[in-house]
Structures are given as structure tokens and as C-alpha cells.
């Protein structure tokens, strides 16, 4: 299979062509793509990892390295068919050496084979569908735990934190919500924790029947599978009805809008799990450095998947630093790469999954979603 060698002269922009012609030392550039929904309706999940990746590459280029890295953005608007066309463009015209992304599972699935055939190593910061790792793609990687890890991670944490005698599992009727709720229930079943369940329509606004079921179950902990809009409403109605059982949810509810929808008093103490590592203002160490730098570079607090985007870019930077500038060599390097990333220790399994499949636990403290740590280490405030 032909390799796409993309060492190009840095003055190749076609103006006066004076400096460093011929790809001499200190004048070459490796092009890395970033692909995801940058302007579509879910771009709020993709812009933070883009910013994270850009930050890592800017930091690297600022050190005036021999081989510079150029980041080229591809906006799929989250649409798989758009991703297919963009991959063709990125590989054929732009001759990218490696790719960060695609951001979502659907588009990752659509272009995985295409990238594998072209031999372009890719690292996704945010695609969590478990099936992606089962395609036998040799060039595909991700730095985020998959959906199958989330349920067990959350259940493990809850069992440790509350030693519940009974858990109540509730969700709305969307595919993501039901899947996550079932995964948490299965983990409780395995751990011998009895559960009761209920489910409501995504469009419902009155949850009084669910609230009464939860009250009469006398459960010690409530897990809600679903997104923040429904989660916030449910949480509000529970607390209004004086049901004070701890409320727990997953990455779909990990958003400041959960607090808005539930109201700050009701949201206080809600616990959220996520495969993503989002540093809050009170973190320490490498996360704190990241938090400060990110805030300086973008003016925003780091949001979802920002650290993962940074780590994905860092893996490629390490490869280039080690003198690998071709797609094949970079991919080879990724199979052995091992470093302490910002989000988690980065090391890939043979199928491209991250070795560390940590789930991170958050708690709403004083109205803000606050990082507590990995599900194995976190303790409630």
C-alpha cells in the first residue's frame, strides 16, 4: 500500500519562495487533520477538543522544532456522508499524515475503513461507541473509554460510596438513555444490589407517577439514564416531593443545564459519571496547568473532551518528536507510545482502545459541576 509522504516545504505557500526550499532541516511540516462537527447542532461537544488539540500543537510549534505540525480542520457538521467526502479530500488533496477524530461514533464508523485503506492513523477524542474497536482497523485509536465502561464504572463507584441496599434505575425512552440505564442495572445485578426500575416518555413533563414509584421503593440511590433536560426536570420534581435520595446520572446529563433545569437547590449534590475528564477550577497538578493554559488560550473554561483532544494531539506530537513523519511510522509509534496524558495515562491496546478506561465522577457543588476524580478514587464532598 502506497504511503502518503507529506513532508512539504514550509514556504510552499507560493509567494516568493525564498526560505528553506527543498525540505531541508528545520523547514518541514507535518499536516494533521482535525475532523468533527464544528458548526452543527452538537458542535459544543467538538469545539473544546478542537481547542485542546490546537493548544497542544501551538505549544509544540512555539518550541521551534525541526519538524513543525500544521493542524487542518474539517467540519463534518456531524454528518457521516459529509465525513466520507472530507476524508477523500484530506487524503487525496491535502495529503494529511494523521487525523484527530472523527469526533462522533457515526462518522467514525462511516470513514474507518476509508482511513484504514489509505493508511492514515487516527485518534478520536470523543467517539464512545463500543463497536468501533471491533472492525479490525489497524490505524484507528481513541483516548476515551467506551460506553460499555460507563455503566460498570458508575455502579462500582455508587456501591463503594453508598453501599446501597436497593437502587432505583430510571430513564426516558431514548436509545442512549435506555442503554445506559440497562448497563448500570446489569452491573448492580452482578454486584447483588436489588433494583427497581421505571421509564418515562422523552416528551413527558409530569413525572409524578415516577416520583411516587421512587418514593415507595425506599431505594438508597437513584440512577437516571438520559440527557440533562429530562434529568433536570425529574430531579426538580423529586426534590419538590421531598424525595431526598442521592441522584446520579451519566455523561448525557453532565452539563450546566442540568443545574438550570432542576434549579440550584435541587441539583445540589447530584452525582454524574463520564468517560471524559473535565478539570474544574479547583483541580491540582497537571490538570491545573491545563486548566490555566486552556483558559488563557481560549478565554473559556475547559469543557467536555478538551483534555482528550489535547492528549490525542500530544500522542501525534510525541511521534513526530521521535522522528516519525510518515503515516506508517507514526502508526507504528502509536502501538508503543506510553505517556502521562492530561486526561489519563495514554497507552493503546492492539485494537486501538485506550489501556486506561477510567470513568470520571463529578458532583454538583454550590451549583457547579465539580470533578471528584476517577470512579476508583473519587470520594464525595
Amino acid at each position: 500500500m502506497a504511503l502518503t509522504l507529506t513532508l512539504s516545504a514550509c514556504a510552499g505557500s507560493g509567494d516568493d519562495g525564498n526560505g528553506g526550499d527543498g525540505g531541508g532541516d528545520g523547514a518541514s511540516t507535518v499536516t494533521i487533520g482535525f475532523m468533527g462537527d464544528l458548526t452543527g447542532e452538537n458542535s459544543a461537544i467538538v469545539i473544546p477538543p478542537r481547542d485542546g488539540a490546537k493548544m497542544a500543537i501551538d505549544e509544540y510549534n512555539a518550541g521551534d522544532p525541526d519538524v513543525k505540525i500544521e493542524l487542518k480542520e474539517y467540519d463534518t457538521q456531524g454528518k457521516p456522508e459529509q465525513a466520507t467526502a472530507l476524508v477523500a479530500q484530506a487524503v487525496g488533496q491535502d495529503k494529511i499524515t494523521a487525523l484527530i477524530g472523527p469526533a462522533f461514533s457515526g462518522e467514525s464508523k462511516a470513514v474507518g475503513a476509508q482511513l484504514d485503506e489509505a493508511g492514515i492513523p487516527s485518534i478520536s477524542a470523543s467517539a464512545t461507541n463500543p463497536g468501533l474497536a471491533e472492525n479490525g482497523w489497524k490505524f484507528w485509536h481513541r483516548v476515551v473509554a467506551n460506553d460499555n465502561d460507563q455503566g460498570p464504572g458508575i455502579a462500582e463507584f455508587l456501591t463503594k460510596a453508598f453501599s446501597p441496599k436497593k437502587a432505583f434505575i430510571i430513564s426516558d425512552d431514548q436509545e442512549y438513555s435506555v442503554g445506559l440505564a440497562e448497563s448500570v442495572k446489569a452491573s448492580f445485578d452482578e454486584g447483588g444490589v436489588p433494583t427497581e426500575t421505571d421509564k418515562f416518555a422523552q416528551t413527558a413533563s409530569d413525572y409524578s407517577s415516577s416520583v411516587e414509584k421512587i418514593r415507595s421503593s425506599n431505594a438508597d440511590v437513584i440512577f437516571f439514564g438520559g440527557y440533562y433536560a429530562q434529568g433536570g426536570r425529574l430531579l426538580k420534581q423529586l426534590r419538590d416531593a421531598n424525595v431526598k435520595t442521592p441522584f446520579v446520572s451519566g455523561d448525557g446529563s453532565l452539563d450546566a443545564q442540568l443545574v438550570t433545569a432542576a434549579g440550584a437547590p435541587a441539583a445540589e449534590g447530584a452525582i454524574l459519571g463520564c468517560p471524559c475528564n473535565i478539570p474544574s477550577a479547583d483541580v491540582e497538578g497537571a490538570l491545573k496547568t491545563f486548566y490555566d493554559n486552556f483558559k488563557k488560550a481560549t478565554g473559556n473554561d475547559p469543557a467536555i473532551y478538551a483534555t482528550e483532544g489535547y492528549d490525542a494531539a500530544t500522542a501525534f506530537i510525541k511521534a513526530v518528536e521521535a522522528g516519525n513523519t510518515t503515516s506508517d511510522k507514526i502508526n507504528e509509534f502509536l502501538s508503543t507510545v506510553e505517556f502521562e496524558g492530561v486526561s489519563k495515562p495514554i497507552k493503546f491496546k492492539e485494537n486501538g482502545e485506550p489501556e486506561a478506561n477510567d470513568i470520571f465522577i463529578y458532583e454538583v457543588v454550590d451549583g457547579t459541576v465539580t470533578l471528584l476524580g476517577t470512579s476508583a478514587e473519587a470520594t464525595l464532598k
Partner: protein, 320 residues
């Protein structure tokens, strides 16, 4: 199973009554317009939405940030109610002028009016999502807009294991009061007689000197005002609004109107409460995901035995 029944029956009944009161208020608008024009006003759900946002607008303008009590609470509720009724009633009249009257004047088929209704419904939703919510409420248009709390959720009294809270009482009492007022207006006043006459036989009513245009306008105004009250109570009770909040409630309210007997004002009341209760009672045994299924199964069964709904008799046949 029996445990579930005894522990959840009374609390679920309270929740069902509160939800049912809101269904019933919205159902009034469907049923009155149907009675007079034989038209299902699908944009009625957006009239409800406008009423709900009008209440939120009042709360924001008045700068409410903490729950109120006593006279201040009652005054604020009345103010919200008046503004919501005016906004929703006014919007309903404008809707009639813009979306239905031109068609009616040209003698267009009912199908054309139905399409016009759906178009108006989508237009109003998008108007709120794209302009009103971002500009007035300073929130991204498709996000949930939180409503500040104006009354604490205190338990007033208990019946068995059901705690009756202040907000439940306010919603149910306010809804019932408005429905009694409307029923009296339609049955006793001169304007109401015009509505009944038109519903019964539009042509004879015209011959007797009834101004049809005025009657239609009045019908939309009253139905819209009731939807405004429903919107205000919804904003107060559930404290979360979104641009398409009316859609599913509109479907439920329409169902309630048919269940009670469409065209029948008291039927809308019975249908609304029946639907709210059936949903919540069904959920005790089957789980909350079966709420909608239970409600529609009951609807089908009722219609099999009473094709015109529970109360059956419709507006035009009442008190001929």
C-alpha cells in the same frame, strides 16, 4: 402489586389531578373552536406556549428571585394570569384573522384550514426558537428556559399517604374556577348565546342577526384565554419551558377533548381530569412508559361504546 397500589394510589391521584387540570384548560380551546367552526385548531398548542412564556415574562420583568407568600403571592399569580390570558387570547384572535378568516371568506375546504393550522403552529414554534427566546429571554432558542420559583412547595395537608402541596391546590383550584367562569359565560351571557347559536346552526344564526365574525373572534379569544391560564399554571407548576412545550400537551388536550366529547365544554373538563388520572393510575401497574398507551387504550374503549365521548352531547345540541 397490591403494595404498589396502596402506596402509590393517593399520591398518583394528586399528580393526575394537577396534570389533568392543565389538559382540561387547553382542551376547552379545541372543543369551542371545533363546536363553532368544525375545525381542529392545531395551532392552539402554540397559543398555550405563548401564555406560558407570557407568565415567565411577567416574573422576569418583576424581578422575582425568591418565593413569595400571602398577598404578594396571590397578587403575583393574578397578574401572571391576566397577562397570560391577554397574550394568549390576543394571539388566538390574531391567529384567526391571519390563518383562518381569509380561507373562510373564500370558502376554502376544511382541509385547507387544517394545513393552515399546522403551518401556523410551526411558524409560531420557530418564531419563538429563533427570535423570541434568544432576544427576550436571553437563552439559546432550543434550550429549556427555567422559570423562577414563586411559591414554596409546602405540604398543606395530607390525605392518607398523599401530601397535598400548595402548588397542587393553586393549580387545581385556579383551573376549576376558570372553567366555571367560562361555562357561565357561554351558558348565561348574550355573547355565549351567540356562540351556542352558531354552533347549533350557523346559517339560522346569521338569519337571526348573529354576527358570525364576532362570534368566531370571541370563541378564539375565550379559548385562547383558557390556554393562557393553562400556560401560566404550567409555568408555575413545572418551572421549565421550551419552544415546543405545547406540542405534546396539545396532543393530550385534544385527546381529552375527544374523550369528554368534542364540542362539549363540560366534556373537556371531564376528559381532561379523566386523562390525567388514567395516565397516572395506569403507570402504577405498568410503569410510567405505558402512560400514553394506557390513555389511548381507554380512549379507544370509550369511543367504541360512546362514539361521541363520555358526555357525548355536543355544544350545538346543549340547551337548544
Amino acid at each position: 402489586m397490591l403494595d404498589d397500589l396502596s402506596s402509590q394510589f393517593l399520591p398518583s391521584t394528586v399528580g393526575g389531578l394537577a396534570a389533568g387540570a392543565i389538559y382540561a384548560l387547553i382542551a376547552l380551546g379545541y372543543t369551542m373552536v371545533y363546536g363553532v367552526l368544525r375545525l381542529i385548531n392545531f395551532a392552539h398548542s402554540e397559543i398555550f406556549m405563548i401564555g406560558a412564556f407570557a407568565s415567565l415574562f411577567v416574573l422576569i420583568t418583576m424581578g422575582i428571585s425568591a418565593p413569595l407568600t400571602g398577598i404578594a403571592l396571590v397578587g403575583m399569580l393574578l397578574l401572571m394570569m391576566i397577562v397570560s390570558m391577554a397574550a394568549a387570547g390576543g394571539a388566538a384572535v390574531v391567529l384567526e384573522q391571519v390563518a383562518y378568516k381569509p380561507l373562510r371568506k373564500k370558502g376554502a375546504s376544511r382541509l385547507a384550514a387544517l394545513i393552515s393550522a399546522i403551518g401556523a403552529s410551526l411558524f409560531l414554534q420557530e418564531l419563538f426558537a429563533l427570535i423570541v427566546i434568544p432576544e427576550v429571554f436571553d437563552t439559546p432558542g432550543r434550550n429549556t428556559v427555567p422559570v423562577p420559583r414563586i411559591a414554596d412547595r409546602d405540604v398543606l395537608f395530607s390525605i392518607g399517604n398523599a401530601n397535598i402541596r400548595t402548588d397542587h391546590v393553586i393549580v387545581i383550584v385556579a383551573a376549576l374556577a376558570m372553567m366555571i367562569v367560562l361555562d357561565q359565560v357561554v351558558n348565561r351571557s348574550r355573547m355565549g348565546r351567540g356562540i351556542r347559536a352558531t354552533a347549533q346552526d350557523p346559517e339560522a344564526a346569521v338569519l337571526m342577526g348573529v354576527n358570525i365574525d364576532n362570534v368566531v373572534r370571541l370563541t378564539f379569544l375565550l379559548g385562547g384565554a383558557m390556554a393562557g391560564v393553562a400556560g401560566m399554571l404550567y409555568a408555575f407548576e413545572y418551572e421549565n419551558l421550551i419552544f415546543n412545550v405545547g406540542f405534546i400537551l396539545g396532543v393530550k388536550a385534544f385527546t381529552a377533548a375527544v374523550l369528554g366529547g368534542i364540542g362539549n365544554i363540560r366534556g373537556a373538563l371531564v376528559g381532561g381530569f379523566a386523562l390525567g388520572l388514567i395516565e397516572n393510575w395506569g403507570a402504577i401497574f405498568l410503569g410510567s412508559e405505558w402512560k400514553d398507551v394506557t390513555a389511548f387504550v381507554v380512549l379507544v374503549i370509550v369511543l367504541m361504546f360512546r362514539p361521541t365521548g363520555i358526555l357525548g352531547e355536543s355544544l350545538q345540541r346543549a340547551r337548544a
